[in-house]
């Protein structure tokens, strides 16, 4: 398997697992009084590490390999895959990273006697991470479709 394929798979896989970790934390947050505080804290840390890994893998791919694919997309039938989907994805991803970092900061020392306001803050942040995470996956699919349609144009 090529190095570029490995980092692309790592980007998608870690991003998907990061969003799943946010879902896991959301579920465990419901039972915070019954000893799940440590698990919520661990899930939030896992979410942050996986999002960071996804950013590093995606960033490496974008900087080193994406330029060739960008030309294929722009010269193909669906240039919007780059001009809209990629541009929005690469900049909205920073909001996801900020939310993950914020979540990591506020859940470092979580305990069962947590107040309602903090639970609301964590819950809303997790929901935003989950939503944005899957939006990023969807945008990635549009970019992939843009490359494929561009390639098929060159092949025909």
């Amino acid at each position: 398997m090529q190095f570029k394929t490995v980092i692309l798979v790592l980007h998608v896989l870690s991003g998907t697992l990061g969003s799943s970790a946010a879902l896991w934390a959301m579920v465990d947050l419901k039972n915070i009084e019954n000893g799940s505080a440590k698990r919520v804290s661990n899930a939030c840390m896992a979410e942050f590490v996986l999002t960071l890994l996804s950013l590093l893998a995606g960033g490496l791919y974008y900087v080193l390999f994406y330029q060739d694919e960008k030309q294929i997309i722009l010269n193909g039938p669906s240039p919007i895959a780059h001009t809209f989907f990629m541009e929005v994805k690469e900049h909205v991803f920073f909001i996801l990273l900020l939310l993950s970092l914020y979540l990591f900061v506020i859940t470092r020392h979580l305990h069962a006697a947590i107040d309602v306001q903090k639970i609301r803050l964590i819950k809303i942040t997790l929901m935003a991470i989950f939503t944005l995470g899957f939006l990023m996956i969807g945008f990635g699919e549009f970019i992939d479709a843009g490359v494929k349609s561009g390639m098929s144009k060159f092949n025909n």
């Binding site: 974008y62 919007i80 809209f84 900049h91 909205v92 990273l97 900020l98 506020i106």
Partner: protein
Amino acid sequence: MMKTQIEKAFTLSLICAIYFNTFLVLLKELQKPVKQFLHSYLLHHWVGHGIAVIVFFLLLGLLFRRLSVNVNLQKMPLHIVSSIVISSIGISIFYLTNVH
């Protein structure tokens, strides 16, 4: 008390950083020297953009903590959601209308 102060400081910093991210997108796309500046110190302007946003968030969070800023934590979830929605829609509209 100390922990609540961290939450207040970094929640406010998060909202500011989300808006700063959108501002930086518009600034670097509309002012090419800014994009070139971000590009010149690192491999790609996107890398410079990311580092600027994260450093902004952390420094502002630490500053707000030192200044002991007082915000109503009850209203913060609404402000977080608003900032995400406004920023995401703002970036989307910008790239939809500025095809290059």
